[in-house]
């Protein structure tokens, strides 16, 4: 079962779009970095160390690659940066490029939910994007929906 559920994807897309708007670039701008993970990474590193972040990102990338084959060209380097992402952007259709990042972020958040639970993940996300209303980052709802299905 993929952790990148439709609800998690919608949320990931919302974050990516909001961040892209915040840095005044368009969501289809091929040269755009991945500010969402860039923002999360130092906080996660404080919690679990660089090694922990690398392990978590690598796992999210591995899961996302099953769905988005072009992500095979991306690697997590020693600093926890997503190497190859910027290089891939001019080669991929912008919508597909966005979709790849959405799936990757959804997998990363899904892993956090699986490990530390919806509540703490929601709090972590809320630290960076306090403007997002709680109901929109209520990953517990996600869990309930999954269990109901």
């Amino acid at each position: 079962m993929s952790r990148a559920s439709p609800r998690m994807r919608r949320f990931a897309k919302h974050l990516i779009v909001a961040d892209a708007l915040a840095v005044s670039v368009t969501i289809t701008d091929n040269a755009a970095p991945f500010p969402v993970t860039d923002a999360l990474r130092p906080r996660l590193a404080t919690l679990m160390g660089n090694g922990g972040v690398r392990a978590l990102l690598s796992r999210a990338l591995a899961l996302a690659t099953r769905e988005v084959p072009w992500l095979r060209a991306v690697h997590v380097n020693a600093d926890g940066n997503l190497e190859g992402l910027a290089e891939m952007s001019p080669l991929i259709d912008p919508i597909e490029f966005l979709e790849g990042r959405v799936v990757l972020l959804a997998q990363l958040l899904g892993l956090l939910v699986a490990f530390i639970g919806p509540s703490l993940t929601s709090r972590l996300v809320g630290e960076f994007w306090p403007q997002i209303p709680f109901q929109d980052r209520d990953f517990g709802k996600e869990h309930e929906d999954e269990e109901a299905n």
């Binding site: 919690l47 679990m48 160390g49 660089n50 922990g52 978590l56 530390i116 509540s119 703490l120």
Partner: protein
């Protein structure tokens, strides 16, 4: 010369002045039930403490409880992790406990991973980072988990003296930062002698697990605590959904008060037995009801509780053998409606049967129940079942623990009826296998006696500490009213106490086939 006043004698002026000049050490609540009492009030503020022991002892859970109990946004707890359990796993598991307040994570409790710094840089950088974080956050509580890893790194990089210097600088900084610190580490007891860390810290809490046969018992020991009197010895701890709970080995002794000089006589619900007891059991007495199986010990105990309820005295029945339903059914058959009292909250039936209990845990459960219902009467049915419910490791201390428990409860004014099963041997009159009669104020002995071709039941009051009592051996039956004492003492038999008496008086014609004691209807 004028005699000094009483007040002046009690506190000389210079002594009073020095007393008022003493620093007051505030104590942090641990958040662990029972632990504050063991520590002598809590953890001394600004102290440097080591929580040690083997893996699985509960160190991480204990330190989380301490952090959650004391962390506030203004004085947060900083939890530094060093190559130990990853934070992501720590958060995953610790949030299962009820003390885990997720709203505190992030602001009041901050987790900071120092693993990369320990691996890639030197100890000065680690100290600098801790200093920076503690200063910036104005931390009230600091945890370093695992400190052993950090100390090992210090020793391997720079040798023993440099490692000691690092610990010293860290300790100095944290104390002057007004932070209470907990260093968590997996140590073995052999290290205590040679490791200077154990000398430097102010407090050492040691957690261990003792395995005996199939039972595992967790223990906590306060090996050291500067500036205050903690309770020595090994204390039982248990990890439940609420985290750690500690049971002091002296639980209850502090609350022991002297029995009041004017004590009431309490009816046991059997008028003839009350007479035998000189008017009833003295309030705050511990009564032992001893007898073989089927003699009505539990019935008698039920009547004692039911009589209390009738008199407006709430009660607790701690039962270890029979199920609560059996109890209430029997009570119903005697016309004693225990269910109603249970619903009303004046009676609680505690069914305690797990096979790895400690006496302290049982005592805590009983004390809690007593407090809940405001109990005045307590039944322990039976001591044999109680012993069986204990983990094997605790059985050796059963008598000592029982002494403590009974002392604490009767000291609190509770009147206790304990039952104990003894086998009749038809040569002597035993009271119990445990030789615990010294624990009890009063002993009632039930036994089978062969009379006129029937196995009948007799009862005798063996001992009553608080006054005179009847020495009569009385026959009783169990009817639909419960235990009922029938005939006056028999003078036509001797050696009734052996169970095989000799008839000395004239033979009275006996009607056959008439059962002398119809069974209580179910």
């Amino acid at each position: 010369m004028k005699k000094p006043t009483k007040r002046a004698r009690a506190v000389p002026p210079n002594k009073a002045a020095s007393r008022s000049a003493k620093v007051k050490i505030h104590k942090l609540a641990t958040g662990v039930r029972g632990l504050d009492d063991i520590l002598g009030g809590g953890v001394p503020e600004f102290s440097l403490n080591l929580i040690g022991g083997a893996p699985g002892g509960g160190k991480t859970t204990l330190v989380h409880q301490l952090a959650f109990a004391n962390a506030t946004p203004e004085k947060p707890a900083l939890y530094f992790t060093v190559l130990g359990e990853p934070v992501i796993k720590m958060l995953r598991y610790q949030q299962q406990f009820s003390f885990f307040d997720e709203s505190k994570v992030g602001e009041a409790i901050r987790f900071i991973n120092l693993s990369d710094m320990v691996i890639e840089r030197n100890l000065d950088a680690v100290l600098e980072e801790i200093t920076k974080q503690v200063t910036a956050a104005n931390a009230g509580v600091v945890v370093v988990d695992s400190f052993r890893t950090l100390a090992r790194k210090a020793t391997s990089d720079a040798g023993d003296i440099a490692a000691q210097s690092f610990i010293h600088r860290l300790s100095q900084f944290l104390t002057s930062s007004e932070a209470t610190t907990f260093l968590v580490g997996e140590y073995v007891q052999d290290e205590i002698r040679d490791n200077p860390l154990f000398t430097m810290v102010d407090g050492i809490l040691w957690l261990s697990q003792v395995t005996e046969r199939n039972s595992v018992v967790r223990k906590l020991q306060v090996m050291k605590l500067r500036g205050q009197a903690s309770v020595p010895g090994l204390h039982t701890i248990r990890i439940t959904d609420d985290g750690l709970q500690a049971f002091s080995r002296t639980l209850g002794l502090d609350s022991k008060k002297g029995k009041p000089s004017q004590r009431r006589r309490l009816s046991v619900g059997i008028p003839e037995l009350d007479k035998m007891l000189g008017g009833g059991v003295l309030e705050g007495d511990s009564v032992l009801v001893a007898g073989p199986s089927g003699t009505g010990k539990s019935a008698l105990a039920t009547q004692f509780i039911a009589e209390g309820l009738r008199q407006g005295e709430p009660g607790i029945m701690a039962i270890f053998e029979e199920r609560p339903e059996g109890y209430t059914q029997r009570a119903d058959s005697f016309g004693l409606k225990l269910n109603k009292a249970e619903q009303k909250g004046t009676l609680e039936i505690l069914y305690l049967r797990p096979l790895d209990l400690s006496v302290d845990e049982t005592m805590q459960a009983i004390l809690d129940a007593i407090q809940r219902v405001g109990a005045k009467r307590l039944v322990i049915d039976s001591l044999v079942g109680f012993e069986m419910a204990l983990a094997p490791g605790f059985r050796a201390d059963f008598r000592e623990s029982l002494y403590r428990m009974i002392g604490a409860l009767t000291g609190a004014g509770i009147t206790i009826f304990s039952t104990v099963e003894v086998e009749d041997n038809f040569t002597s009159l035993q009271f119990s296998h445990y030789a615990i009669s010294f624990l009890t104020d009063d002993i009632i002995r039930l036994r089978y006696v062969e009379i006129d071709g029937q196995l009948r039941k007799t009862m005798v009051v063996i001992k009553m500490r608080g006054g005179n009592h009847s020495k009569d051996i009385r026959e009783y039956v169990i009817t639909d009213e419960g235990v009922v004492i029938i005939h006056p003492r028999r003078t036509d038999y001797e050696k009734l106490s052996t169970g095989i008496p000799h008839q000395t008086g004239p033979r009275v014609a006996q009607e056959s086939e008439v059962p002398p004691e119809p069974k209580a209807s179910q």
